[in-house]
Amino acid sequence: MLATWLQALVSGLAIGGVYALIALSFSITFTTTKTLNFSQGEFIGVGAFLGVAVLYLLSGQDEGAALAPGASAGFNYPLAAIAVGAAVGVIGILLFITAVRPFAGKPGMSWVMSTIGFGIILQSIGLAIWGPAPVNLPSPFGDDVIRIAGAGVRPQEILVLVVAIVLMIGLDLLLRRTRMGKAMRAVANNPSVAALMGINVSAVMIGAFALSSALAGIGGLLVAPIASASIFMGLGIALKAFSGAIVGGLDNPRGCIFGGFALGLLEASVALWQAQWREIVIFLLIILVLAIRPQGLFGARTLDKV
């Protein structure tokens, strides 16, 4: 019994780490531009597949066969992560220029639909290149289950958790301690005043989207060895991460991280009871939370000045 719970705890923390990372990526663009990418899920899927492609390249394997178990070993996986982060970051800049900038700050929230449209395009291109079938991506530390106090833990789960935490601490420091972070927070607070203070607002916004998309891509690469990589895998992850962000308060990066982890743990514990009901339970819960506290658990209540 204890072992089952421990196992749920670890897998909940691991998937929660991914949710937290993606939730943070939503928060980064939302705080700086008051918009966010509704197709972050497609970015996750594309990130995973780009990772697979890079690993094929690095391990010198043919596209025909499945990736060998050792393909991610050594520096291959971190190199793939960097490449994916850079490539998806560039796609994020493209997203900002085509789908966000024309609509940001205008009434009507057209950016919701335009980012969804961008995601559909991205997904259709992914489908044309890689097809709909899921692909196996080996974990850099192998797929042998480690036994801890009777609980079976996969090395990738530990890796996901560690990488997610390191990235989040890094981003937290970046946002709070550096000049760039200060600029981002200034833009979040009031773009026009930030511009008057000599901050290049549009560069900050582009940077926010690049960073946010890079996180989504890396999230896809991290989660792919746990689930199998599929071009459709991102929607569920992004939705749950978004839920975590909303619960924690979109404008509060630390709240988003908390929300992501909380959602991962919740999902793992619901899965203990009835695996197929976990998404239903989670989304119903989110709807409920929002109905009671529209600003999320840790978000700031905004006052409409009349």
Binding site: M109, M113, I120, I125, L290, D304, V306
Partner: protein, 601 residues
């Protein structure tokens, strides 16, 4: 009438096309077009008029489809009855999806609707003992006539008839009181409440209309296929419904038709290459928003539409000496409105502390005080925009403390806003007609069916709006979009909108802000004419010459407290008032205002 005729001709042509087509494949495409058109007709009300984004319409489609499936298989119900019940059940789901939207806004609302769609999708996939999961439900009873199931051509005819009927009904609804109210929600919810539109009720109504038509479409698909499974209910369907409305032209009456026909045809052509179809949909979604924000309908009306004539002269015409429409006069003993010990604080800021005021009927009252004195907060509390923390506000003897904005408007208090809150996209006339919203009595059904009552009310409202525009000298600008007018004119349109609610008490928050001296003087004359119509006025103003010229009674606030009140002459000579404005030496002042002066020093 021309519109009805054109719609009937299009429907007849489509029906004729069905009659001469024997090809089952073409008939199926026409049927799909009808199905998507049904979804889009309702979605247009929600998205195009009420401005609410729903990313979960597939869930409502599913509610209709599975209702009809379960009712006709498990309960063995008559298929026609099941169809009607399925629509009703979907409408109930519409209320469910609307419930969170009453509190949640922006991206979180999009998220809630998206989550709703996903929940329905997961439920019908996972709860396979009830919904059959991916296996689906077979042997759904099709619609029958005299015991014979409909043929494919008959299905299409039914679809066309339903589309035509629903289009005409929704047109009745959207071209009058209800359509304007939906548009006001999209433009500015606070202003909508202030002119008497019950914001929450209309939001729910828009969700219910969209839910009912989507549910109807889902039920038709289930009955026509006699089969439904979880593959029908996907996020892609929700997006496609949204795309049909956006691409066709959201907020336009012909938009859904244009969108449904073109996109169904496009899908049929591209269906062989699934990724290209997907790509095309994504690209259309992205670029339709750019290139044609008003959709195909906007492009067409740009091509065929009349070339705009020379702009009307943008000045105020001499106002006509016509009476304003007003409520029946009543005899009031004592004050019209009485506020006692009203308090409000935001954290440490206390913009109202034990404020009391008595507004006597037929007077012009002025509320003055330095910036940050709590004048706007008091107006906001009187009009229900913010709630007082403590105290009592009684209007004609009834307590307003818990009343909503629209209920306060119904009781006879109207207001304008310090930073203009006009419905900028709507015409001046529509803005004023929205002011008449609460004074019209035609309900949902009489508007939907275009009954004589609805037409009579609309005609009466237009006539009254015309009188108000005449009174203010704005009638030559009736058709101009309110947002296109010069600033001073916009202020006057907002006044017209407030007068259209036929108030007993008119609250004006800095009506002369941004006006030049000439306009300010004209405003003074105008307000005196409004008072002569029996309307009591409370105005917040910084132009002291205006205040002193027209007001009968002045209330002075400073730091959330009332420091003086009385006739203009009395207030002008009050040392505490001078201290608050000019910061005269503290020692000479009465002790009551010492902290105020200290704060100014």
């Amino acid at each position: 009438m021309r519109h009805v005729l054109a719609a009937c001709i299009i429907a007849a042509l489509a029906a004729g096309l069905v009659a001469v087509t024997a090809n089952e494949f073409y008939l199926r495409i026409l049927f799909s077009a009808c199905v998507y058109l049904l979804c889009a007709l309702g979605m247009n009300v929600l998205l195009g008029y009420a401005g609410q984004k729903s990313l979960g319409q597939a869930g409502l489609f599913g509610a209709g489809a599975y209702s009809v499936a379960l009712l006709t298989t498990s309960l063995d119900m008559n298929p026609w009855l099941a169809l009607v019940l399925a629509v009703a059940i979907s409408a109930v789901f519409g209320v469910l999806i609307a419930a969170p939207s009453l509190r949640v806004r922006g991206p979180a609302l999009a998220m809630v609707t998206l989550a709703f769609g996903i929940v329905v999708e997961k439920v019908v996939t996972e709860a396979s003992d009830v919904f059959g999961g991916a296996m689906g439900i077979y042997a759904i009873k099709p619609l029958t006539i005299g015991g014979v199931p409909l043929s494919m051509a008959q299905w299409v005819w039914l679809g066309i008839a339903l589309c035509l009927g629903i289009h005409l009904l929704l047109r009745n609804l959207l071209t009058g009181r209800f359509g304007r109210a939906f548009l006001s929600l999209q433009a500015d919810e606070i202003a909508a409440g202030a002119v008497g539109v019950p914001v929450l009720r209309f939001k729910v109504l828009a969700f219910v209309i969209a839910a009912a038509t989507c549910g109807l479409a889902g039920a038709l698909v289930a009955q026509q296929n006699q089969y439904i499974n979880s593959d029908f209910i996907t996020f892609n369907l929700s997006i496609f419904i949204l795309l049909v409305v956006l691409f066709g032209g959201s907020g336009s009456l012909v938009g859904p038709l244009l969108g449904a026909v073109t996109l169904t045809l496009l899908s049929a052509v591209l269906a062989r290459w699934s990724w290209i179809e997907r790509f095309a949909n994504g690209a259309l979604l992205l670029f339709a928003l750019y290139a044609m924000p008003k959709g195909l309908a906007g492009v067409l009306s740009g091509v065929f539409g009349k070339i705009a004539g020379p702009k009307a002269a943008a000045e105020i015409r001499p106002p006509a000496d016509v009476p304003l429409p007003t409520r029946p006069a009543i005899v009031v003993d004592g004050p019209l409105l009485q506020a006692d010990d009203v308090c409000k604080s935001y954290g440490g800021v206390r913009p109202a502390h034990n404020i009391g005021a008595r507004l006597m009927p037929g007077d012009i009252h002025a509320l003055i005080g330095p910036n940050g004195a709590g004048k706007s907060t008091l107006i906001n509390m009187l009009s229900g925009v913010v709630r007082a923390d403590a105290g009592r506000i009684a209007f004609l003897g009834a307590d307003l403390k818990h009343a909503t904005m629209h209920a306060i408007c119904h009781r006879g208090i109207a207001r304008t806003f310090q930073n203009l809150r006009l419905f900028r996209e709507l015409s001046v006339l529509d803005n004023v007609l929205l002011g008449q919203h609460a004074r019209m009595s035609n309900g949902f059904l009489s508007s939907l069916f275009g009954l004589p009552r609805a037409r009579r009310e609309e005609a009466r409202a237009r006539q009254r709006a015309g009188a108000i525009l005449d009174f203010l000298g704005l009638s030559h600008l009736a058709e101009a979009p309110a947002g296109s007018l010069a600033y001073g004119l916009q202020r006057r349109v907002e006044l017209a909108r407030a007068l259209a609610t036929e108030p007993r008490l008119l609250l004006l928050d800095e009506p002369a802000a941004g006006l030049n001296p000439q306009e300010t003087a004209e405003l003074g004359d105008l307000l005196l004419r409004v008072r002569a119509q029996g309307i009591t006025i409370l105005l917040v103003e910084h132009h002291m010459d205006l205040v002193m010229r027209i007001s009968d009674h002045v209330i002075v606030l400073d730091y959330g407290e009332k420091i003086s009140e009385g006739t203009p002459a009395l207030v002008q000579s009050d040392p505490r008032v001078m201290a608050a404005y000019l910061g005269t030496d503290v020692e000479e002042m009465a002790p009551a205002s010492s902290h105020a002066v200290a704060g100014l020093a």
